[in-house]
Amino acid sequence: MTRAQPKAKTPTSASSLSVAPSRYRTRTTVVRDLWPYVAVAPAFLTFVLLLGIPVVMLFLTSAQHFGLFELFNNVTTYVGLDNYYNLIFKSPAGLPDFPTVLLRTIVFMVVNVALTITLGTLVALLLAKLDRWVRLVLTSAMVLAWAMPVVTGAVLFQWLFDSKLGVVNWAISSLGIFGDYLNHSWFATGLTTFAVITLLIVWQAIPFVALSLYAGILSIPKELPEAARVDGASERQIFSNITLPAIRPLLLMLIFLSVIWDFKVFTQVYAMRMGGPDNQTITLSLYSQQLGINQHQFGVAAAAAVIMMLLLLFVLVPYIRRMIKTQEEL
């Protein structure tokens, strides 16, 4: 079907792409020109009102001194870039300083993306090699993890890693290789709390990556790796010369998506330990939320969110470009 579509773009059948065939043109010129706009107007207005205005407001708020006083009295005091200056050079009471949080968020994101993509690719390659019934078992297991609501995942992982009764501590202790883990508290330090959060995120993200890549691998013509094998190529050579080039565009999209998702992630981190212990797992989105909603420093919180958004643009712009490009080809 998709192969045949470029044909439709030839002049002879161009009119068939449009709902308004030429024979209508003489009768209802005005209506014909207007109705597509009427049809997209509700969606367009929604974007402007519910998305456009908040984005503009975000930038404006980040340039205002905005606390409870301003909120209740509807006063606007512009302070230029003061919020950004304060954010970067002064640390707010009760929260870690901004550079620490930013660095922490970036490291956290890189670790999560690297693990998700590497393991996801390995699972995709594994899927391609499995017997049919094992593949079905693995796919079903992955769909279970993928479908789980994030909130449930966060609650469940706290139970798995519970210090006293958690099954993980029991399993590690029974293995005997790492010593006695009974009563080991995973949520006592920031690093081990992050480890549990990362495990949760990666556990839920691998299925999407692996199944997407597996679909990509399936679309490679079977003759290519077979011919290479006949010519004596090793599995590794087949991967780097046939499989990888074929799935590279897909892989890139998945990396972009993972970077975006893991950089701005809120629920998994917050629902696990609400940024604790001792604020050690506060990442950028939690930071902005805590500054604004809890401490009522809306201006500074908005500045943090603006920085987060601008950093995301580095990945969003190329991602959206590719997204548009592939859609236009359809």
Partner: protein, 283 residues
């Protein structure tokens, strides 16, 4: 290594990986059916003697019927609103070449990737102030459940348009034209030919919207202050905090909350793969 042992080893690894993904889910359900003496042990019980006590306890929570109603009401309204507005835009984008179509498509793609975690502050300030002018009669504001519908509507609308547009574009116009040659009006042709073919796409998109609204935590947690206005995710997290040691009841609540999502997800899973990356392989 012989071919046979190789297969056994590879399939063995496959089973181990499957266990890694399935075990936590199994453990949730398993704990939900345990009596306290079965989950409060250092040596875990892998196959419990099942009891429904935890489910009874979780379901007996005060206000729960109200919260289920909140969640269902918000999610269903989101689906309805998104589908109606999204469908109009999607059909137009797929079938009509109008000036500005490319720009609108770009707007949808950008909106789809909007980082709502970064927009919490301005949306919070707007909601606190209430809607401007004549819109202020709507029950939208801080601690008012319908607010969430509006927020989830903008969360899901871009995807709805994007996804439905793809489904409509996948149905050849020739089919409609054939019906029109046979005497159907344009509207009839669309309703009788295209719409039935579109049904799976509508179902898949609705389910996606439903799951998004059903699972959302950050905005529900920020905007709903009365416990009677919570949605289920907010309740689940606070349930776990309040009943920290009663893991049986917590896991029963988690299982119940997850069940509808799981069922819906299984229906659309095949369509979700590739939804966000369509065309990337062929590119």
């Amino acid at each position: 290594m012989s071919r046979r042992t190789r297969r056994v080893v590879i399939n063995g690894i496959g089973i181990l990986v499957a266990l890694f993904f399935a075990f936590p889910v199994y453990w949730m359900v398993n704990t939900a059916f345990k009596s306290p003496d079965q989950f409060q042990t250092y040596t875990p019980v892998f196959i419990p003697i099942p009891t429904l006590d935890n489910f009874i306890k979780a379901l007996g929570q005060q206000n729960l019927p109200l919260l289920v109603r909140n969640s269902v009401f918000v999610s269903a309204s989101t689906v309805l609103l998104s589908l109606v507005v999204g469908f109009l835009a999607a059909v137009t984008l797929a079938r009509v070449k109008f000036r500005g179509r490319g720009w609108f498509l770009l707007l949808v793609a950008v909106a789809q990737m909007a980082p709502f975690e970064a927009l919490l502050i301005p949306i919070f300030l707007e909601i606190r102030n209430g809607l401007p002018g004549p819109l202020s009669i709507l029950p939208v504001g801080y601690n008012q459940v319908p607010t969430l519908i509006l927020i989830y509507f903008i969360f899901t609308l871009p995807f709805t348009i994007w996804s439905l547009r793809g489904f409509v574009a996948g149905i050849p116009v020739d089919l409609e034209e054939a019906a029109m040659v046979d005497g159907a009006s344009h509207f009839q042709a669309f309703m009788k030919v295209t719409l039935p073919l579109l049904a799976p796409g509508l179902v898949a998109t609705s389910i996606f919207c439903f799951i998004t609204a059903w699972n959302e935590y950050l905005y529900a947690y920020t905007f709903m202050s009365d416990t009677t206005n919570y949605t289920l995710p907010v309740w689940l997290v606070s349930f776990q905090t309040n009943f920290g040691t009663d893991w049986g009841a917590t896991m029963a609540a988690s299982t119940l909350f997850t069940l509808p999502v799981l069922i819906f997800f299984l229906v659309v899973q095949r369509r979700m793969v590739g939804g966000l990356t369509t065309g990337a392989v062929r590119g």
